[in-house]
């Protein structure tokens, strides 16, 4: 476990998925409360699939943990984020429109089975990140990302 990340020096991430990667200090995200159920304090975003909208949220504390994420605003035109007052304060951004936003992706061999978690987005503000509970209507735990190929 890499529990202390030097905020002034680059970090070498020995990713189990992607091999050794050098992460610059400005690319380190601080999760004061970790990801729900996964913990971890430090993560980074890797663009391994440029142009697809998919990023990897990779733990710097555990080289085995990496989650595919997307910006829900790029895929869902009507995506809405509503937070309780407490969580909004925790996030830090006054206007949530200005924050970076990601949702985790549960992948599947068939694109029609790929779902994203709109209920618990990750809000990044000034390199601090929080997984929050979105109370907006329709922000469900599993929302299909792609329409089935044979949809009418």
């Amino acid at each position: 476990m890499n529990s202390s990340i030097d905020p002034t020096a680059s970090t070498v991430l020995e990713s189990l998925r992607f091999g050794a990667l050098t992460i610059e200090p400005e690319d380190v995200l601080d999760f004061p409360r970790g990801l729900i159920g996964l913990g971890g304090r430090h993560y980074t975003l890797l663009d391994r699939n440029p142009g697809t909208g998919f990023l990897w949220l990779h733990s710097l504390d555990d080289p085995a943990i990496a989650l595919p994420v997307i910006d829900p605003r790029s895929f869902f035109r009507n995506f809405s984020l509503q937070l309780g007052e407490d969580e909004h304060e925790r996030v830090g951004a006054e206007d949530l429109d200005d924050a970076q936003l990601y949702v985790t992706v549960r992948t599947a061999p068939d694109p029609a089975d790929v779902v994203v978690n709109l209920r618990a987005p990750i809000v990044v503000w000034e390199r601090r990140a929080h997984q929050v509970l979105n109370t907006a209507p329709g922000a469900d735990l599993q929302v299909r990302l792609f329409a089935p190929a044979d949809a009418p």
Binding site: I36, L38, L67, G84, E87, L96, R119, F146, A147, A151
Partner: protein, 113 residues
């Protein structure tokens, strides 16, 4: 597990800074008020478990991600994929800014201060 009996209005103190108050008991429902330090997240167990499961499932992804170009993006969350006609012309998000706002105070899960 520690088991305590409390009446409405009575409290339990956890550590130095978490205060749980029994607000109301009505039939099978107990209403709790929880005062905890700033930044300490409090979840209903079922939602905590469900999000944890989604995070773990996401972390179990294969290294190869699905290629979005081979599938059609759903038009919006307001029109779920099941009922929405798949359209190759589905407009990208940029053309319709997402509405992002904080919920007004007074929701069911407000933390007492």
């Amino acid at each position: 597990m520690l088991i305590l009996t409390r009446r409405p209005g009575e409290r339990v103190v956890i550590g130095e800074d978490v205060l749980v108050t029994v607000m109301e008991v009505s039939g099978q429902t107990v209403r709790l008020g929880i005062a905890a330090p700033e930044g300490l997240p409090i979840y209903r167990e079922e939602i905590w478990l469900a999000v944890k499961e989604e995070n773990r499932a996401a972390a179990a992804a294969a290294d190869e991600l699905p290629a979005p170009t081979e599938a059609l993006p759903t038009p919006s969350q307001a029109a779920p994929a099941q009922s929405a006609p798949a359209s190759a012309e589905a407009a990208p998000a940029q053309s319709a800014p997402a509405s992002v706002q904080a919920a007004p105070a007074g929701g069911g899960d407000q933390r007492p201060s």
